[in-house]
Each structure stands twice: as C-alpha cells, then as structure tokens.
C-alpha cells in the first residue's frame, strides 16, 4: 500500500455538494483529509473591468449584481466610496433607509444560510421551514424596494425610494412574526440533539487561527473575534444605533450557527430602532455625473463578513479603477485550515459554514508553473489576438469582436 496519501478526490469545479463552481482537491488518507488545494477562477465575470467602461450610475446596478444574496452590501459599499470621493453629504433619512434594507438583507441571508446548513447535514425539515419564513422578509424587501433581490434602492447621493407610514407598520408586523419564529429556531438549534451532535467540534477554527488567517464575519465571531465593521468603523446609520456584536466561544460550525441565529435577533432590534428614529427630510442629494479625481476605500459588514471596495476616480464620468474584495475571499483560507485532519464527510458543511459566495469572490488568477519552460507573460494586445486565433481554429469568427461589441452597446 502507499505510505503517504492514499488518494486525491477532486470536489468541483462542478460537484453536487457545491452550489457554485470552485475546485477543492482533497488529499485523503482513508477518510481523513490530509491536505486541501483550493483553486478559484472558474466563474470570473470581469465585473471590475466592466465597471471601468460604464458610468458611475450604471456601475451601481452592475456592482449590485455581483451577488444575488448580498446585493445591497455591494451597491452600498460602492456608492459610499463614490460619495466620499465626490464629497457628498448624504441625507440622514437616506442613511437610515440604507441601514434598514441592509438589516433586512442580513435577515434574509442568515435565514437562507440556516436552511442551507440544515440541508447540508441532511436536516431538510429545517431547510423547508427556514425558507418558508424567509419569504416573509423577502415580501417586505419587495414592498420596500420593489424587488425581492437586486433591490436597486441605492443611488449615488442617497436612496431612490422613500418609505411611508403604512410600510413602516407592515415591516413592524413582519418583524414581530419573524422574531417569534427566530426564537423558535434558536430553541431548535440549541436543543435539537442531531444538530448539536453533527455540528459541534466540526470545522474547528481557534481564536488565534481566526486572527492569523484573517477570518471575517460570523466565521470570525464564532471564534470570539469581536470584529464587526458596523461597530468598529460605523457607516450609514450604525453609529447612531445601539446593538451588540454577537460572539461565541464554540469555535466550530455549531458556534457559527449560534452566531447567525442570534444576529437575527439583533437585526430585529436595529430595524425597530431605525424605524422609530427615522429622520424626516430628503432622501437624496443630487450627484454630479463627473466625479472629481480621487480615491476611496469603503468597508461594509455584509451578512458574510467584511466587504471592501476601492474606487479610483479620474474626473470623468467613468471610474478609473474599481476593486472588490468579497468576504468569502478572506474566509477561504480558513476553510483550508478547518478541513485539515478532519473527515471527508464534514467537507460540505465546513465549506457551507462560511456561507461561501464563490462567484462574488472570484478573480482572475495566474498559476505560476516554475517547472514549465513555456511560461511567459503576454500583454493585452497579444492575448486579444491569441483569443481570436484560438477561436478561429475552432471555427468561430471573432475578428470583428470590438466592432460587434460597440454596436451592441449602441451609440452612447
């Protein structure tokens, strides 16, 4: 028999246990995982580059579509950076509405995660009930913004839609129902033996490792790292709203579940406070089309963790550079550590426990193969003509690609 690793199992890029394309190559010895090789880059969409070719207002909608779950997180993070460069004073009412949508989004994301986690451990009853209750918050989001996902509420300089007294009443009513349901889920999570037995001690990430590997969001908070952008570097209206940063000392997947369900309770309190103290006034200030030259970094606590956007403006209508760091990129290193010396069967729940969003985090990667003498660096023009040639050999004509693209985008 082999004395080192017995065999390697590739999980992904396409695999039933993963909802998005991502490659995990697991080196196994028996059932034990000896090492994990994670490779990104299967769903790179080139959004950062596309942003440079569109105006700021178009970018808000493009950035919003980075993620289908935390779309408000990305668009708020982007508009915050642009507003900082342009020096816009966003009205307080707009900041409160942003906070409100952000917390509603957190509720929907965490309930979604609870269902997914239930599904990954074979507890589909939890999936069905958590997702049924998630519909309540989805309906509220649709009522408030006009859509269930990709809310389109943000614009540069404020928000697009105001809320009225009738909507406030409906939100408060929904919060009461959801709070009652969440109390039930907390009871289920902390008292149901099958959940505790399956999740406790799985995917352990100690406090020191969480700090060392720069884990973010509920993954870090479950290892007692009190790290939350909402309280550390308040944005929107969080500086005026009292809330607790939930941490847990279980250090494992069970701890992450507890953190998330408890964060739901905090979210209801934040929403009630924001609605009660909603300031009067305008919801938007007029933003210039041309943003003055400058750069800004914006941070935002998305449901999955800290989201960072960098925007560089050069005085034109289009940004010069947009850079997005989604929370999953920060947590994916921790996954590698969590899987080491654990069992293969734990893999899907450990990966699911960081609430991964691979498409959001995906970026172009270059693999340096030092052994290969053919490795060379080529510039943009060369890769362009290489691409055209590669497709031409396979019978697809892309020689007029630039012209066709210009036609498709219209004469703007």
């Amino acid at each position: 028999m082999h004395d080192s690793h017995d065999f390697k199992i590739p999980v992904g890029p396409q695999h039933p246990a993963l909802k998005e394309p991502e490659s995990f190559s697991l080196a196994l010895k028996g059932e034990k995982i000896m090492g994990v090789d994670i490779r990104l880059g299967y769903n790179h969409r080139g959004i950062e580059k596309a942003c440079e070719e569109r105006s700021y207002i178009q970018d808000v909608y493009l950035i919003e579509r980075i993620c289908g779950i935390c779309s408000h997180a990305h668009s708020t993070c982007f508009v915050q950076a642009v507003e900082e460069i342009a020096g816009l004073a966003v009205p307080r009412r707009a900041l409160y509405i942003r906070t409100l949508v952000a917390e509603l989004e957190r509720i929907h994301s965490h309930l979604l995660w609870l269902g997914v986690a239930g599904h990954e451990i074979g507890f589909d009853t939890l999936l069905m009930y958590a997702w049924r209750d998630r519909e309540i918050v989805m309906d509220i989001l649709a009522l408030l913004t006009g859509n269930r996902v990709n809310y389109g509420i943000n614009t540069i300089g404020g928000v697009r839609r105001d809320i009225d007294a009738d909507e406030i009443q409906q939100i408060l009513k929904a919060m009461d129902t959801l709070e009652e349901r969440t109390k039930y889920y907390i009871e289920v999570v902390t008292e149901e033996t099958t959940i505790i037995e399956r999740l406790a001690g799985v995917g352990v990430l100690s406090h020191d490792d969480a700090l060392r590997l720069d884990a973010v969001g509920p993954t870090a908070r479950a290892s007692e790292v009190k790290r939350d952008v909402r309280s550390d570097d308040p944005y929107a209206a969080y500086g005026e709203i009292p809330f607790n940063v939930i941490t847990d000392n279980h250090n494992d997947v069970y701890g992450r579940t507890v953190v998330r369900v408890k964060e739901l309770m905090e979210a209801y309190q934040i929403i009630r406070f924001a609605l009660k103290n909603l300031p009067e006034g305008p919801i938007e200030v007029k933003a210039p089309r041309k943003i003055p030259a400058g750069e800004a970094v914006s941070r935002y606590e998305a449901p999955r963790g800290e989201n960072v956007h960098y925007v560089k403006a050069n005085g034109t209508e289009n940004p010069e550079r947009v850079k997005v760091r989604a929370p999953t990129l920060a947590n994916v290193q921790a996954v590698k550590h969590m899987l080491k010396d654990r069992f293969l069967a734990d893999m899907s729940i450990v990966v699911a426990a960081i609430d991964p969003c691979f498409s959001c985090t995906d970026r172009l990667i270059s693999i340096k193969n030092l052994d290969n003498a053919d490795t060379k660096i080529i510039n943009w023009e060369e890769i362009h003509s290489y691409g055209i040639k590669w497709y031409a050999e396979r019978g697809v004509d892309f020689s007029d690609l630039n012209k066709r693209f210009a036609e498709r985008m219209g004469n703007r």
Binding site: I57, Y61, N150, E191, E192, T194, M409
Partner: protein, 128 residues
C-alpha cells in the same frame, strides 16, 4: 430540554395548514406598489434628450426620432434588467414602470418592442 425530534410538533401541525406555495399561474400574486416591471412610454412628453439611453446599464432602451418632435422608444426586453434607472433619469416623466412581469416569448425577436404601440394601455398582454 436537549432532545431529538425537536421539530416534530411543528411538522405535525403543518399537516393541517394550507400550502405555503401558490398555484401559479392559476393563482396570481399581487405585485408590490413599487414593483419595476415592463415600461410604458408617453410619446407626448418625450423631448428626445436621450438621457435614458445614456444611463441604461444594459443598453436596452433606444429613443428614435420618427418625425418632427416625435419620438419612439424601443426596448429590448431581453436586455432590460428592470432597474428603472431610465424612469429616474427622465426629466419629463415620459417613462413609467408597470407591474407587468409576464414577458416571456418563444421567439427572441419578439422581445424587442416599440413602446409607442401600447402607449395608451398600461399593461399589454403577452403573446399567446
């Protein structure tokens, strides 16, 4: 109390509840008031400034001049991302959103529609 089968009571109680899902298309949901569906166009208000074209994130809307101070709005429903930025950009409120979501077509050419044809009725029927 820590015990297995914590959710059994909930599951059993649900047997006697009606389903949480809707029987679409037999039973249709009301769209929220702020919903962003298919656009309607008021040709009499349009001044042809083309701000909507400039701001459209997906290049879905085109304003064509069809006569003296007369404009036509053509929307590619397949490209439209229903963000309603054109509605916000319009200075003369010539564009409006409706709650029409049933826009599926079997022929992709039918997705490119001129909004002038239906400018009088707020919601037009999808092709049978």
């Amino acid at each position: 109390m820590i015990r297995p089968g914590k959710m059994i009571a909930e599951v059993l109680a649900s047997i006697f509840k009606k389903p949480a899902t809707n029987l679409y298309p037999a039973e249709k949901l009301d769209m929220p008031k702020k919903f962003r569906g298919k656009l309607i166009f008021h040709p009499d208000r349009c001044i042809g400034c083309k701000l909507c074209m400039k701001d459209c994130p997906s290049g879905a809307i085109t304003i064509n001049k069809i006569g003296d101070k007369q404009f036509e709005a053509v929307v590619d429903l397949g490209r439209c991302i229903y963000c309603a930025q054109c509605v916000y950009s319009c200075l003369k409120k010539a564009l409006e959103t409706t709650d029409n979501v049933e826009l599926a077509q079997l022929d992709s050419n039918k997705l490119k529609v001129s909004l002038n044809e239906n400018s009088n009725n707020s919601v037009d029927k999808p092709a049978e």
